[in-house]
């Protein structure tokens, strides 16, 4: 079996050496195929993204809410009422805490978002310098 495979590789290589000695034809074909594949793929994902965004925008209306979409572009798994739930959770957390850490975390996250400098890894360490 191994011999057969090796022969096959050798014969294909010999044929390529004869038909395309400089490799330009294969290069052209291969680059076109790679581009075509990823081009098709990106169109598929654009379509899926478009569907998802449309569904997300339509969601609050169906649920009879004001139609507001979360400023941060809500995560699609969230249901129609998730914005309200998040708001309620934040409000509860803020009312329960007294150290200022949660406010600082929310403030930091909002600052990051609005300065468009969100990236994937954060240290999650916040240092608070108290005045008193």
């Amino acid at each position: 079996m191994m011999t057969l495979v090796l022969l096959d590789v050798a014969s294909k290589a010999a044929r390529m050496a004869e038909q395309d000695p400089n490799g330009w034809i294969m290069t052209l074909v291969a680059v076109c195929v790679v581009f075509l594949t990823l081009f098709l793929l990106q169109y598929c994902y654009r379509f899926v993204g478009w569907l998802s965004t449309r569904e997300k925008n339509a969601g609050p209306k169906k649920a009879g809410t004001s139609g507001r979409v979360g400023a941060a572009g809500s995560v699609g798994a969230a249901s129609a009422g998730s914005d309200d739930e998040v708001a309620a959770a934040i409000a509860t957390a803020l009312s329960m805490e007294s150290s200022g850490e949660i406010q600082a975390a929310i403030g930091l996250a909002l600052d990051r978002w609005f300065s468009e400098s969100i990236h994937d890894k954060e240290s999650y360490i916040i240092t608070i310098k108290r005045k008193y």
Binding site: K12, A13, W24, T27, V34, L38, S52
Partner: protein, 380 residues
């Protein structure tokens, strides 16, 4: 007394000291260098340390017939080496990569996939150059894949196309992957202006869980239909990602991206290193492979950055892309995306390019697997 001396003389013949050649010592030194670079410089330590130690194992001078060498049938190392020789390990590594990679950056900005395609020109540039240097087409294809900056793909393809060159190709691919920051940064600086390096790109949109689940299924079906020969790599990559994103196979995903990939990485590193025996490895061909590997990385980086610059000519003001993400089209994840971030922040400390660069970076993984499939269908 005479018998003792005879026995000692016979024992001496079995030792490494009696069988050592300067080539063995050179390879052991190279292995030690890999280990030192991995520990001191922390350059890809998970790969360089197993490969470096494997090089030392593979170059301990031996008498033939002891059944311990990697090339002797049924020795322990030989059995482990079957995973490399028959291409079993790379797809398992791709399973782990799929299970640990977050494709959100790519899903939210699918257009950036094309940068991942542009960087694959490095593979085919090196293929053309290798042919010009007198390599046979199958060898040239195996050498070209170094430009994909993807170790498992390089091992997978070279095991099929040119098994005799696999050691040199794998070591070259992993060495240059470790040197991505050193190789790519000067090219990026040379190809971009200060103004271009300051371009800010809008934050990518958030991606729904449903999109993340659809991604591996659609991606696999489409790419496998176009390039069925890339099935083992593409199938495992997307399968691993489905395990991660489905939300109901957490244990499987954790195993794939944890213990499984660790075990396979250890075995692949050690056996690839051990396969670089001096008599096979130290040749003019290996030197040429290292040279061509470096050129393929340079071509890949140049084409990625150049493609973004070209694309920007057709994009309106305010929607231009920062060309510093072009280098990330090679699939050294996440190292090349980190280079984009670092170089970008040197120009503007508040400009974070990491999330944008991750899109072409993971597209590069898909692109190099597709390119490997194409080479395999032409030459394999």
């Amino acid at each position: 007394m005479e018998t003792i001396v005879e026995n000692l003389a016979q024992f001496w013949q079995y030792t490494g000291f009696a069988n050592a050649t300067w080539q063995h010592l050179v390879m052991i030194l190279i292995g030690l260098t890999f280990i030192i670079l991995g520990i001191v410089k922390e350059w890809e330590p998970l790969l360089l340390i197993p490969i470096g130690f494997g090089m030392i194992i593979g170059n301990i001078p031996l008498l033939e017939g002891l059944k311990v060498s990697i090339y002797e049938d049924n020795s322990v190392l030989n059995i482990l080496y079957h995973g490399v020789k028959n291409g079993w390990y790379p797809p398992l590594i791709f399973l782990g990569i799929g299970a640990m990679t977050d494709f959100s950056a790519l899903i939210s900005q699918p257009k950036l996939m094309l940068i991942g395609a542009a960087a694959q020109i490095g593979i085919f540039g090196a293929y053309v150059l290798a042919l010009a240097f007198g390599f046979a087409p199958n060898e040239a294809g195996a050498i070209g894949i170094i430009g994909g900056a993807d170790g498992p793909t390089a091992i997978f393809l070279s095991s099929r196309l040119a098994p005799e060159l696999m050691g040199a190709i794998a070591v070259s691919a992993y060495s240059y992957m470790a040197l991505v920051p050193v190789i790519q940064k000067p090219i990026m600086l040379l190809m971009t202006t200060k103004k271009e390096r300051l371009i800010r790109m809008p934050a990518p949109r958030a991606v729904s869980q449903r999109e993340k689940i659809v991604f591996p299924i659609v991606g696999f079906i489409l790419t496998a239909f176009v390039v069925p020969s890339g099935l083992p790599l593409l199938g495992m990559l997307f399968f691993g990602n489905l395990l991660k994103e489905s939300g109901v196979t957490r244990r499987l995903a954790e195993t794939a991206r944890g213990p499984l990939i660790d075990v396979v990485t250890t075995l692949i590193g050690l056996t690839v290193g051990a396969s670089t025996q001096a008599d096979v490895f130290l040749s003019s061909k290996s030197v040429m492979i290292f040279g061509l590997g470096l050129l393929s990385f340079i071509i890949a980086t140049t084409s990625g950055v150049g493609f973004v610059k070209l694309w920007n000519l057709f994009r309106p003001e305010g929607r231009k892309l920062n060309p510093l993400i072009g280098n990330a089209g090679v699939s050294a994840v996440p190292d090349s995306a980190r280079v984009s971030e670092t170089v970008g922040r040197e120009a503007d400390p508040k400009n974070h390019l990491l999330m944008h660069a991750m899109a072409p970076n993971v597209a590069g993984v898909i692109g190099s697997a597709v390119a490997a499939g194409i080479l395999l269908s032409f030459l394999g």
